[in-house]
């Protein structure tokens, strides 16, 4: 029996900021969930199950917070699953929820991801050492900077490509009312003049620490027919993982990312992603990851990703807009960041992305990664239902 088609009929986000002192964790997640329900024209009683994700628990200092959040998310009496796949978790969480609908286990599922990073310190939350294992070298930037340098050496990309990405994403964020960073005075010179944090990554090329939540309502064909607004349809979704450390690992372009994208494209019938995909929301926590992932996701030949960025192809008005929302560089509630990518892709094909809408976006890719660039989660959504 073929899978049930899965539709995204509701999306809700909080305004992402450095610290939401006005709400508890429960208040934060409920805000996003209520907005998603309103978008879907549904109430709590229409929800069959809740799938929640965040990463890791040390960021708020609450172990398995889904237990405490069951009440706030209307999950009492319902099934509730908690997904954790490091930085890719927001994407994985959406895919686990989508599978519940695709498998016809449930008709309508609320999925939500959040992070309230102001409750603690993300950098040190990621830096708890364990004996005989490689420490994460003072936060994620310390881990990823050498791989960015390897990309630059390998491809001969000029030094300023990273700043172009940051400049673009921060300008895009100005059009997204939910984005965390709204720097109205941003200039390319300001990006380039920022202090070096982890060479070659400048402060201006890193993501912020945000408080925020993102929720989606996923439903089946019947649910989509009742939705008050156009749904986004899931045409393909996949997760791939590889070990953190092994001799054959290519940290610049991990095999798991390539395989994950290939699986999604196969499911969605995409043979030429560069031409057939209208918008991409990719997980770019450090600016150089845009050209790196352009190659990893098959939008550019190996060594050519930076040329697309440099030529303006990934700008809001380019022919392959990347992160029209402003991306992770402008908004990073870590556990929610992957789901925001998935949700923003869905907003594009629903035609509901507001000022950062890409005209005529029919197919969009949402992408997330995590761990030591080892966990990948992606989905491709379309304005039309999948064939069959």
């Amino acid at each position: 029996m073929p899978k049930e088609p899965v539709a995204v009929v509701g999306i809700g986000q909080t305004k992402h900021v450095a610290a939401r002192h006005d709400v508890s964790i429960a208040g934060l997640v409920r805000e996003a969930a209520v907005r998603a329900l309103e978008d879907a024209g549904l109430t709590w009683s229409d929800i069959d199950a809740v799938v929640i994700g965040k990463a890791p628990d040390f960021f708020e200092g609450v172990m398995m917070p889904e237990l405490y959040l069951a009440d706030a998310l209307g999950a009492v009496g319902k099934p509730m699953l908690r997904v954790h796949t490091a930085g890719s978790v927001g994407g994985s969480t959406a895919l686990v929820a989508a599978n519940l609908v695709a498998a016809r286990v449930h008709s309508t599922v609320l999925t939500l991801a959040f992070e309230k990073q102001s409750e603690s310190n993300a950098m040190w939350g990621l830096s708890l050492p364990v004996p005989f294992q490689q420490p994460l070298l003072a936060g994620a930037g310390g881990f990823f900077a050498p791989h960015v340098r390897a990309y630059m050496r390998r491809t001969g990309a000029p030094d300023e490509v990273g700043s172009l990405v940051a400049y673009k994403d921060r300008r895009n964020a100005l059009k997204n009312p939910y984005a965390h960073l709204h720097d109205h005075d941003i200039t390319l010179e300001k990006v380039r003049a920022a202090p070096m944090l982890w060479d070659p990554i400048r402060y201006s090329e890193t993501c912020p620490s945000s408080d925020g939540a993102c929720a989606m309502i996923l439903t089946d064909r019947d649910g989509a027919a009742r939705a008050p607004h156009p749904p986004a349809w899931v045409h393909g979704g996949a997760m791939r993982s590889e070990p953190t450390l092994f001799a054959g690992k290519d940290f610049v372009s991990p095999q798991a990312g390539k395989d994950c994208a290939a699986d999604v494209y196969r499911q969605a019938g995409i043979t030429d992603p560069r031409r057939e995909i209208d918008a991409v929301e990719m997980y770019v926590p450090f600016s150089w990851y845009e050209p790196m992932w352009l190659e990893n996701l098959g939008f550019a030949e190996e060594g050519e990703g930076w040329k697309l960025t440099e030529a303006g192809v990934t700008e809001l008005d380019g022919d392959l807009p990347v992160n029209p929302s402003g991306g992770v560089l402008s908004t990073n509630p870590i556990g929610a960041s992957g789901m925001i990518r998935f949700a923003e892709a869905a907003l594009q094909v629903r035609g509901r992305a507001g000022e950062h809408q890409i005209d005529g976006a029919l197919r969009a890719l949402g992408h997330a990664y995590g761990g030591g660039a080892q966990f990948f989660a992606m989905w491709l959504v379309g304005a039309e239902p999948p064939p069959g």
Binding site: D57, F58, V62, M63, A70, R240, S241, P243, L245, Q255
Partner: protein, 350 residues
């Protein structure tokens, strides 16, 4: 729904401390054992899912190193729940239901020895109102036990009998940490004595799931999952009737547990009093063999103990000792969240 079965199960010997072993060291033997039992290699498995909790390891992303032990190259289709492995099994079962996988490897592990697990589990509580008071897992279970005694549903003697029966059964379980004649002991938190509480220990478990004919090819007598469901209740203890478990009852109903009698039940009841609640909610009569493995009172590796219930129930079906078994897992304080699966051997289905 596709027919999906547990076709292999392995667990560690559960021990109070495993200082000499990393989590990967703990896991590797059980991963090799379940894969060996099916003849499958890691890259032939359709989907892999694990359960664990960072707070036990004391570091973020603790599961990433465990994945290295699986041997995930070439890359695999994989996911993780920050929950007991029973819920990882549920996610894997859903994945197989979509048709995207025919087989799944599910594993979970927990090392309680590096910290003080009673204190660690307080961090599961509402962080604003409850957690700052540090009420530990035994104290919360004692509230539930006292509520049961006050309601006339049990007494301390009956609870001691629950402990004795589980640990007597565990004498036949080579993996058990606490087996045989274990004294009732002194009060730990009134009315619970040490004997009413689970041992603190380290351990890991793994199962392999397979669909339809693949399951039949991998296992002489697959344990078919006839139904599986899980439900959560409110977090606040003040808004729950601690003498009942409506979420366990609803999960059992949705899993089809009440359609026909079961002969065996593996209950994830770390405290004797919780077995009293679950027996009633799950309508288990005296003719049902409850916890032939000794249950969580004999070995309670946190985050694996629920998956072990599913594995133990399946193993009895594999061995022909059960035709229809109920397996249960729990999470959260005082049975807040519950999962129920109904497993059957082929002949029971025919």
């Amino acid at each position: 729904m596709r027919d999906v079965a547990i076709v292999a199960f392995a667990q560690t010997a559960h021990r109070r401390r495993t200082d000499e072993l990393s989590e990967v060291d703990l896991l590797m033997p059980v991963l090799h054992e379940v894969l060996g039992a099916t003849g499958l290699k890691a890259n032939e498995i359709g989907f892999t899912c694990s359960g664990s909790a960072d707070y036990l390891a004391g570091r973020a992303f603790s599961f990433t190193m465990a994945l290295d032990g699986v041997g995930a190259h070439p890359p695999i289709s994989e996911s993780h729940v920050e929950m007991d492995g029973a819920w990882a099994l549920y996610e894997a079962w859903v994945k197989i239901q979509t048709g995207e996988a025919d087989t799944a490897l599910v594993y979970s592990y927990g090392k309680s020895s590096p910290g003080r697990v009673r204190d660690v589990l307080t961090r599961q509580l509402d962080p604003y109102y409850l957690a700052p008071l540090w009420p530990d897992s035994v104290a919360l279970a004692a509230l539930q036990a006292q509520a049961l005694i006050d309601a006339g549903a049990t007494d301390e003697g009956a609870l001691a009998a629950v402990a004795a029966r589980n640990r007597t059964a565990a004498a036949g379980n080579p993996h058990a940490q606490l087996a045989g004649d274990v004294p009732a002991g002194d009060y730990l938190v009134h009315p619970l004595r040490t004997g009413d509480c689970p041992p603190i220990g380290d351990g890991a478990a793994a199962v392999v799931l397979a669909a339809g004919d693949t399951a039949r090819a991998l296992c002489a007598r697959p344990a078919w999952i006839r139904g599986i469901d899980h439900r959560i209740e409110a977090h606040g203890l003040g808004v729950r009737d601690l003498t009942d478990s409506p979420s366990a009852r609803l999960a059992a109903e949705r899993a089809g547990a009440f359609e026909r009698p079961v002969d065996t039940a593996e209950l994830h009841a770390p405290f004797t009093s919780q077995e009293v609640v679950l027996r009633q909610a799950l309508r288990l009569g005296d003719d049902v063999r409850v916890n032939p493995s000794g249950g969580a009172l004999a070995a309670n590796p946190v985050m694996a103990a629920g998956l072990i219930r599913l594995g133990e129930a399946a193993a009895r079906i594999h061995r022909g000792e059960s035709d229809r078994a109920l397996a249960h897992a729990t999470s959260g304080p005082c049975l807040q969240q519950n999962l129920v699966a109904v497993l059957e051997g082929e002949s029971a289905h025919a």
